[in-house]
Symmetry: C2
Subunit: 165 residues, 2 copies
Amino acid sequence: MRDEPRSGCPINATVEALGDRWSLIVLRDVIFGGRRHFRDLLAHSEEGIASNILSSRLKALVAGGLLTRHDAGRGRRGAYTLTEAGVQTVPIMAALGSWGLRHRTTTRELSVRAELLEQGGPELWADLMDELRETHLGIPRSDPDRPRASERLRAAYEQAVAEGR
Amino acid sequence: MRDEPRSGCPINATVEALGDRWSLIVLRDVIFGGRRHFRDLLAHSEEGIASNILSSRLKALVAGGLLTRHDAGRGRRGAYTLTEAGVQTVPIMAALGSWGLRHRTTTRELSVRAELLEQGGPELWADLMDELRETHLGIPRSDPDRPRASERLRAAYEQAVAEGR
DNA sequence: ATAACTGCTTGCAAACCGCAACCACTCTGG
DNA sequence: CCAGAGTGGTTGCGGTTTGCAAGCAGTTAT
């Protein structure tokens, strides 16, 4: 980790925390892929991250206050969970997804999530963040009667598939 | 430049285009700082980018379709302007700024823009993008009577500087 | 004619990335 | 009790990227 920021600019601060080839990918898999464990992140990675890189990124994300490490002892299954700062990267993910969708060629299956996140807008992001707070931080959702964001994402996805497109 | 994407995920696609320590900083200075020329970007950089890094980032951004290079011949003042894809990074900038504002320590003067961008929401982003399309792409704004977003941002910045704090 | 400005390039050391192999430890089934 | 699979990593090594300082060919201003 670097010792002091290059400047006091908020955009620069975020770039220093997340601006590399892997941090956002790891975070994406934790948020949308539900991955919690080292081996999960390593084996099911779409992009094929190497174990030493994953190790260093996880350390950096914990040090940067985006993830928390729950150690269960040597050789025993530990877990990484999101912090509040980690949960709040959801709008960044949505913005990155929208841009990639428009300006890069992507595969249909992997694009659905970004499309739904864009169509759902800030309301859906807030629902997703509420749900992440529940599963990662143990904070009950503000409105438990509301359908879960993940449910809405799946429902909309299945509808999109049914529509053929 | 890399030859083929690591995956078809839109988030990954954006990370591959912008996920390094400098690309977003350069783009930020073009968008919010109004910089158009190599020496401008080099000398007035808040973070102190090196000339060879700036050179390589500009090439990558042009190759990636985010900037256009207008060459005026050797030794003559050329210019870099935003493409439509470049203009559409504004929502990403806003999301990065909001996160940095909340989860990192920033200086007052440099935070003002991010604050205003957050308060203004998607409407202000659209205004700013309209204005960028005008100055960089020559596309007239849809509503010329509306106050310019850049004026609001610049005014807020200069007021914050004047206030010292 | 001189000085300053133009957008870079080059050289070199340090840091980071990517790949493959390896490791100490635990848990599970027989 | 023991073998085998699973746990979260570390180590070594070569290639790429970054950071710093200096230099360079051509143009513009004085």
